[in-house]
């Protein structure tokens, strides 16, 4: 509940200016409007002020002011999470962490990077290249200006997810400021000076992953790095039937040999080639394209992996499914330079982010490999009924233990009817994915009730108790997990 002070502004802005200085507290209408919304259909809320802290002590000071005024605080860096998670509460404070942007360590021995919240994927890639280019991380299909830390806390995915799991699993530990100003350090770093692993103590790091900014403001995060292989190539595998595609997905994951097998359905390919709103799949056109990443230390290893990929394709062809031979991504780029957006991550997918309507949203969900077909079939049905093409991003995760199905839509953000259409679609789509055993990640606030209804009551109650323990006043990003 907002105080009168928070609703009207009162002296909060003045107190923030007195503490941080006028250059790091912004209250003008135009800037506040920029922070009020994102690319999604989620309801905009205008903050009272935006504050740019530069240290842990400043975050503690900000939270002290917020506590006293009972004013909500929402953390943010790029605001591109496509879940409405960085949209503040009306009249709240945005804690813009983009100026806390140091890479504090690249630990070559234990293979991790220690980053502050404002460090972007572009920054990290540059730093790793400068440090000898011996490590890789799980670059997401997101613009380079997005936050590494935010992506990890929201359990996103990337180019090495098929091998090592979603981003939350890459985190060795965090430092966070709780609502009462307590600073906590989790993982191995809670005892050791080295952030070498998540365990072996109770997993407090989990208190900050997928909690969507409701349990603390994370100020440092240790992210696992992996050795960079000497050779790497990406091929595109066109598949013509959905069932064959998912079978291929399962088989490729179980080989344990490939880094990535990201599938993009035909509307994504058409949009990449400049078609704003694809209207239908042409006869005999591939249903989905898999981007398969192969890495190796020797040419012999690379050749062996290529042979195993070819063998896997032969195996699904033998079941009667139609697959084209793998296409070299460089040949596709030569034919159509737009394809370069798929070759080097992080990337700005202009056909999605800069689409003419300005709206981008999705329901992305993790779930069983065994129900991929069911989720896709039923999801596409709902999308078609609401007039959207079956734009899907899918991949096996962590060696095929689970999968991601992300149903993506672009829309006209300025058109209330189109926004209403998206909301109606998502209200149905979330039930479809849940029915198939899938669970949305980066959970938009509007979909929280649907998930909570199906959650084990004990787990739901425990979540509430955890929240009460770390943020009794409910000032941290309220409403984002139903509390």
């Amino acid at each position: 509940m907002l105080s009168r002070d928070a609703r009207t502004g009162g002296d909060i802005a003045l107190r923030l200016v007195n503490r941080f200085g006028g250059d790091r507290v912004v209250t003008d209408r135009a800037t506040r409007a920029l922070y009020a919304s994102d690319s999604t259909e989620n309801e905009p809320h205008t903050p009272r002020a935006i504050v740019y802290p530069k240290s842990v002590d400043e975050i503690r000071a900000l939270l002290e002011i917020a506590r006293e005024a009972r004013c909500p605080v929402t953390s943010r860096v790029a605001g591109l999470n496509v879940g409405g998670l960085a949209i503040p509460a009306e009249g709240g404070i945005v804690c813009d962490l983009s100026r806390m942007n140091r890479i504090l360590d690249v630990n070559r021995s234990e293979q991790y990077a220690l980053v502050e919240p404002g460090v972007t994927w572009g920054d990290l890639k540059e730093r790793l290249a400068a440090a000898g280019d011996e490590f890789v991380v799980n670059y997401p299909l997101a613009p380079p200006e997005t936050s590494v830390l935010a992506c990890c806390l929201m359990d996103g995915l990337g180019t090495l997810t098929m091998r090592y799991g979603s981003m939350g699993e890459w985190v060795n530990g965090v430092e966070a400021v709780l609502a009462d100003g307590t600073v906590v350090r989790t993982g191995a770093a809670s005892v050791s000076p080295v952030w070498f692993s998540r365990g072996p103590l109770p997993d407090l790091t989990g208190l900050f992953i997928n909690f969507q900014g409701t349990t603390g403001i994370v100020t440092k995060l240790a992210l696992q790095l992996w050795p960079k292989r000497r050779l790497r190539e990406r091929v595109i595998v066109p598949a013509y039937e959905w069932a064959g595609a998912f079978e291929f997905s399962r088989r490729i994951a179980r080989t344990g040999l490939f880094d990535e097998c990201g599938g993009f359905s035909w509307p994504a390919a058409k949009m990449l080639f400049g078609v704003a709103v694809p209207v239908g799949r042409a006869p005999a056109e591939p249903a989905i394209f898999f981007a398969v990443d192969v890495s190796a230390d020797t040419h012999a290893e690379l050749a062996l992996k290529r042979a195993i990929l070819a063998d896997t394709i032969r195996g699904v062809r033998a079941l009667g499914f139609h697959f084209d031979a793998p296409l070299d991504v460089n040949a596709l780029i030569a034919a159509s330079p737009g394809f370069s957006q798929f070759s080097d991550l992080p990337t700005r997918l202009t056909f999605l982010i800069d689409n003419p309507g300005g709206g981008l949203t999705w329901i992305g969900a993790y779930g069983p490999m065994s129900t991929m077909e069911e989720a896709a079939r039923d999801g596409f049905c709902v999308m078609a009924r609401h007039g959207f093409p079956p734009l899907l991003v899918t991949r096996p995760m962590k060696g095929g233990h689970y999968a991601v199905m992300r149903f993506v839509e672009t829309f006209r953000r300025a058109d209330p009817a189109d926004v209403a259409r998206i909301r109606a679609l998502h209200a149905e789509l979330v039930e479809v994915v849940l029915d198939a055993g899938y669970i949305p990640y980066k959970l938009p606030p509007s979909l929280v009730p649907a998930v909570m209804r199906r959650m084990d009551p004990g787990a739901r109650d425990l979540l509430q108790r955890v929240k009460a323990a770390v943020d009794a006043q409910h000032i941290l990003n309220p409403g984002k997990l139903g509390f």
Partner: protein, 114 residues
């Protein structure tokens, strides 16, 4: 070359893939060429320095009668469009051609394949 895609929202991926190559092609060319990759068909109608790209099935209206035809796997066509593996793809019949050889020659030269 000026490229016009007829009914772009429903154009198949082969037509969309060819667009950039055709934009960089140099004319003039006159005539109709059919390109086939797997089961995807595209009809190209060249008129001087312009080309119209149509789907080679009935959805976008009757495609023109072609004077030349190129057929192959998507992979082989992409290779040839980059000027790579042309001989190999012909010898292994990954690419097959038919029809007016002069038009085929001009088409290949315009795309930079030869």
């Amino acid at each position: 070359m000026q490229v016009v895609i007829r009914d772009e929202p429903s154009m198949n991926l082969l037509g969309l893939l060819l667009r950039t190559r055709l934009e960089n092609a140099t004319g003039p060319i006159e005539g109709e060429v059919e390109v086939v990759a797997g089961a995807m068909h595209v009809a190209l109608r060249f008129r001087g320095d312009a080309v119209e790209v149509m789907r080679g099935d009935s959805r976008t209206g009757e495609p023109p009668k072609h004077r030349a035809r190129i057929e192959g796997t998507l992979s082989a066509l992409l290779d040839c469009a980059r000027g790579r593996g042309v001989v190999r793809n012909f010898v292994t019949r990954a690419i097959r051609v038919g029809g007016d050889p002069r038009l085929l020659f001009r088409f290949a030269r315009a795309l930079g394949t030869l």
